[in-house]
Symmetry: C2
Subunit: 163 residues, 2 copies
């Protein structure tokens, strides 16, 4: 890793050499098993990007990329590098292979990936940082709700009670 | 390509199956030879994304990714899929290989890729759509200047004369 300034911002990195993020997920505990083997390498923040995030994410056998969800303001994009995840949307399922990509505009179909195979899945995920982004989880008793008082988002049940 | 709605937004695509964008570049004519063999497949727009763009870009031998440039408001990120481009920044040159990535925060180092080899280079490029984004070209008599009257940007010489 060659750095371009005293702030330790690298010029370029081999993505797989970046340490895996320590936090597996911020989901409330009952939902954690679905992403237990998910490993994220945070690439965009490493370079000081602020307008969007880029992660290199690995799914073990049986892992999901996330809960089935839809962003209210942020767009998302994924590009499959290795493995064959199933993309689940509101219109059904699509088998993806390396070189396949998919995009999810804010307010579009809910979605998630599942690794139903015995090998690993590796993909790039990109999402912008539009503020006050609510997230819906149509299949779970969960919502991510912007809190104007704090400027942050908090997890809630569908009836509004906090998790 | 499976579509998810009557608007012909696909659920997912094989990126290399997407047609190459017809416009090679919007640069003024004197600068076009440097990107003459560059081929962009526009992936993000295909899915209706609006907050950022994703292209799958191929460089032939001798091609540059762009002129040496720096965005004023937009962040950029690249991930190399095939080939070995040279990344040129204000601090020097770095040889990249497949699996390498680099990010360029707004206002950071100017940068571009060069394919100095005999093979092709294939990479993903991501950039957000922050409005009124000026672009500097430190090595060329060129600037991309937001025009408040039209809400668009126009190319100008460094002394302000339009190209």
């Amino acid at each position: 890793m060659t750095t371009q300034s005293a702030q330790q911002i690298p010029v370029a990195v081999e993505a797989l050499s970046v340490p895996v993020r320590a936090t597996v997920s911020n989901y409330p505990a009952p939902f954690l098993p679905r992403v237990a083997g998910r490993r994220k390498r945070v690439l965009g923040d490493l370079f000081g990007l602020r307008n969007f995030g880029v992660n290199l994410t690995r799914l073990g056998p049986g892992d999901s990329s996330s809960l089935h969800h839809r962003h209210g303001r942020q767009d998302e994009f994924i590009y499959v590098l290795e493995g064959e995840p199933v993309l689940v949307t509101d219109t059904g399922e699509v088998q993806l292979r390396p070189g396949h990509c998919a995009g999810f505009p804010a307010g579009g179909t809910a979605h998630h990936l599942e690794n139903r195979g015995s090998g690993e899945v590796l993909y790039l995920e990109i999402g912008d940082r539009s503020a006050d982004d609510p997230v819906e989880y149509p299949l779970d008793d969960l919502a991510l709700v912007p809190d104007p008082a704090t400027g942050r988002r908090r997890y809630a049940h569908k009836d509004g009670r906090p998790w």
